[in-house]
């Protein structure tokens, strides 16, 4: 087990290095010369060369990469062009907003998908199964940002129950998830985020539970006189390691995939930040945000794998 954990952690290092290479490359593939944007219209070629040297852009790419990597390692992600503030601070602030609603969404989706999946698998082919499968297909197929728009139209425009966009009437400084007036702002983003993972997890749960219920040991349990509820508990416990892995993966996808939903609801998270970076072509901000999100995704996967090896008896042995 410890050997597995050690190996898994060591294997993460080259992946993270690869992530930094891709993030570094993002700046390289961006069209246009970053120096030109900084120069005044009257600047000469010497001015350009001086500025280039000042930013280290006259160095070979490899050198530039390692200089940049060194800065990243101490938490310096550069300055955002549009706001002229350090990218790191801006991203971290936004990241908290993103991870909180992502966590709530994924837990919500997980709980509902377990219930749906068990019901659908227990009564395969029934009306409930078909309805649940339809919901799952809808969740997988729906563009999440469009779902956001629909939610806004329905709950904000038509019914005026929930605020359409933003994060708290009182401004985000005093935002609290435990105050109803504030939490109202988070409800629609959470629902819009939760539906796609709900669809995927429901399908997976349904097929895993159905498979377990078909195995011989379930018949043995019934023969031993266990109630149906106890039988289902056995089946659910059996798929737990898989379910936890699924949960972690979906959390990772939500953190990276919230860009569209956050844009729809102007939720001030990393997604919204990415949208701002794209609109203003703020490449340092884009790069910094992507780097933080991808790193988070890799680390979440690492934690999930380790957690899975802890709870899965089959992995424990090796």
């Amino acid at each position: 087990m410890w050997l597995y954990a050690g190996r898994r952690i060591v294997l993460t290092i080259p992946i993270l290095l690869g992530v930094t290479i891709i993030c570094f490359a993002l700046v390289q593939i961006a069209p246009g010369d970053p120096i030109q944007n900084l120069l005044s219209p009257t600047a000469t070629a010497q001015d350009a060369a001086r500025l280039r040297a000042a930013y280290g852009l006259d160095q070979p790419l490899m050198v530039q990469y390692f200089i940049w990597l060194g800065k990243v390692c101490v938490g310096n992600l550069g300055m955002s062009i549009s706001d002229n503030v350090p990218v790191a601070g801006e991203v971290l602030h936004a990241f908290v907003n993103t991870i909180v609603i992502a966590l709530i969404s994924v837990v919500l989706a997980f709980v509902v998908s377990m219930i749906f999946g068990v019901i659908a698998a227990y009564r395969t082919g029934s009306l409930a199964d078909r309805l649940i499968t339809a919901v799952a297909v809808f969740g997988i197929s729906v563009p999440p940002f469009w779902l956001g728009v629909i939610l806004v139209i329905f709950f904000a425009v038509d019914l005026s129950w929930l605020p359409a966009t933003g994060m708290g009437a009182s401004g985000s400084e005093t935002f609290s998830y435990f105050r109803w007036a504030d939490f109202k702002f988070a409800i629609m983003p959470i629902i819009a985020l939760a539906l796609p993972p709900l669809g995927i997890m429901t399908r997976t749960t349904r097929s895993s539970i159905a498979e377990i219920l078909n195995q011989d040991f379930i018949q043995t349990l019934r023969a031993k006189g266990l109630s149906e509820a106890q039988v289902i508990v056995h089946a659910v416990v059996n798929i737990m390691p898989q379910a936890v892995a699924m949960l972690g993966l979906q959390l990772g996808y939500l953190i990276g995939g919230s860009v569209l939903v956050e844009t729809v609801f102007t939720w001030p998270g990393t997604g919204y930040l990415l949208n701002k970076a794209v609109l203003t072509r703020d490449i340092p901000l884009l790069q910094g945000t992507i780097l933080v999100l991808a790193t988070a995704f890799v680390l979440i996967n690492l934690v999930v794998d380790l957690a899975q090896s802890l709870i899965d008896p089959r992995l424990k042995r090796s």
Binding site: L3, G6, R7, V10
Partner: protein, 361 residues
């Protein structure tokens, strides 16, 4: 290498013959294959599985050489080494007098035409997406035959193995029974007109009645096409039925080799004795109740010192743990010699049961 007493069973001279009837079909000299085991945080090589460890033997033209041993003893690895399907670590292969793979020897392509293999697992040995006629015709096509002649060849081969090409040609493997699939396998191996056929557990997965049919088919084809067989199986009855000579492998090594009758009537190596004792006798009265071979074979990663069988041998003595018993120079001795790598058969080996004077191994 001249003193081969076994008279070849097939008299007619093959035009492909190069070395004459006395030259063995195939000589295997010092074949070795170690598979690395990787583990640990950095996936370094920590050990080796000695799958085939210094195996030497030869196959006389026209004979059937049986290879037996428990699963994991290296039989199948050896077959794949002979076919050059996996790279060997050491050893030489001499095909009818020509060194295979060397700069002066026959090319791999020549080896491939002369040596073909019939695989064990009928579920994975045929391409599930290819009609069987195409599977059989593939070899000739690769060797340059036109589509038409390859097809004709495939159809005549299917006829030869007892499959009606009109009925079966366009079928897919999943539409065939195990016995039929094995017939296709044989037809495919014959498609390149080989001289030596390696049959790796070729009938092991079949029902007994179908197995008998396929064995008879193999016998007929051998006579018709003047073939030499290497027959690998864990089924001792079948090996005895089909083989002229038998070699016994244990943990990657050759422990006993000799004419089939001698091996079965008077096995010399305690491992062979144990194996034979494990057979189910046809006579219920004669069946043994106790398992003569207890437990699994030791790991080929770190085989026991001295004689590899000493951990399970009933006659183990100190000398067995200290000294590796020699089999004798298989390649220099004639084919009717019965050799065993055991201290009990070698005079003056230090084992209490060893014969006192040289009685010729």
């Amino acid at each position: 290498m001249t003193d081969h007493m076994m008279t070849p069973r097939t008299a007619p001279v093959d035009p492909r013959d190069r070395g004459g009837p006395a030259q063995p079909m195939l000589i295997v000299d010092g074949m070795k294959k170690y598979f690395p085991i990787r583990a640990g945080v950095f996936n370094r090589k920590v050990a080796e599985v000695k799958a085939v460890d210094d195996v030497s033997f030869y196959v006389v033209k026209g004979e059937t050489l049986g290879i037996v041993g428990e699963s994991g003893c290296g039989k199948s690895t050896l077959a794949r080494l002979l076919m050059h399907l996996i790279e060997k670590d050491a050893g030489e292969l001499i095909l009818d007098g020509d060194l295979v793979g060397g700069s002066t020897g026959v090319l791999l392509d020549g080896l491939r035409r002369a040596l073909q293999m019939v695989f064990q697992d009928s579920s994975s040995s045929l391409n599930p997406r290819l009609p069987i006629e195409q599977s059989v015709a593939y070899g000739p096509k690769v060797q340059g035959a036109s589509g038409k002649s390859a097809k004709a060849q495939a159809r005549s081969l299917m006829e030869k193995v007892g499959l009606n090409p009109n009925l079966f040609g366009q079928r897919y493997p999943h539409e065939l029974s195990g016995g039929q699939k094995q017939r296709v396998n044989i037809a495919r191996a014959l498609a390149l007109a080989p001289r030596l056929l390696i049959l790796d557990e070729a009938v092991s997965a079949l029902d007994k009645s179908v197995e008998a049919q396929v064995l008879n088919l193999l016998g007929d084809i051998k006579k018709q096409l003047n073939l030499t067989y290497i027959f690998i199986s864990h089924d001792l009855h079948v090996v005895r039925y089909i083989s002229d000579r038998v070699m016994v492998m244990y943990l990657g090594q050759l422990v006993e080799i000799g004419p089939a009758d001698q091996i079965y009537e008077a096995p010399k190596h305690p491992y062979t004795q144990a194996l034979l004792a494990c057979r189910l006798s046809m006579d219920p009265e004669a069946r043994v109740d106790a398992a003569p071979l207890a437990g699994d074979p030791p790991s080929p990663v770190s085989p026991p010192s001295g004689c590899r069988f000493h951990t399970r041998c009933a006659f183990v003595e100190d000398v067995c743990k200290a000294k590796t018993p020699k089999l004798g120079d298989v390649l220099k001795l004639s084919a009717d010699k019965h050799l065993a790598a055991c201290h009990m058969v070698h005079p003056d080996s230090g084992h209490s049961r060893a014969p006192a004077h040289a009685t010729a191994a």
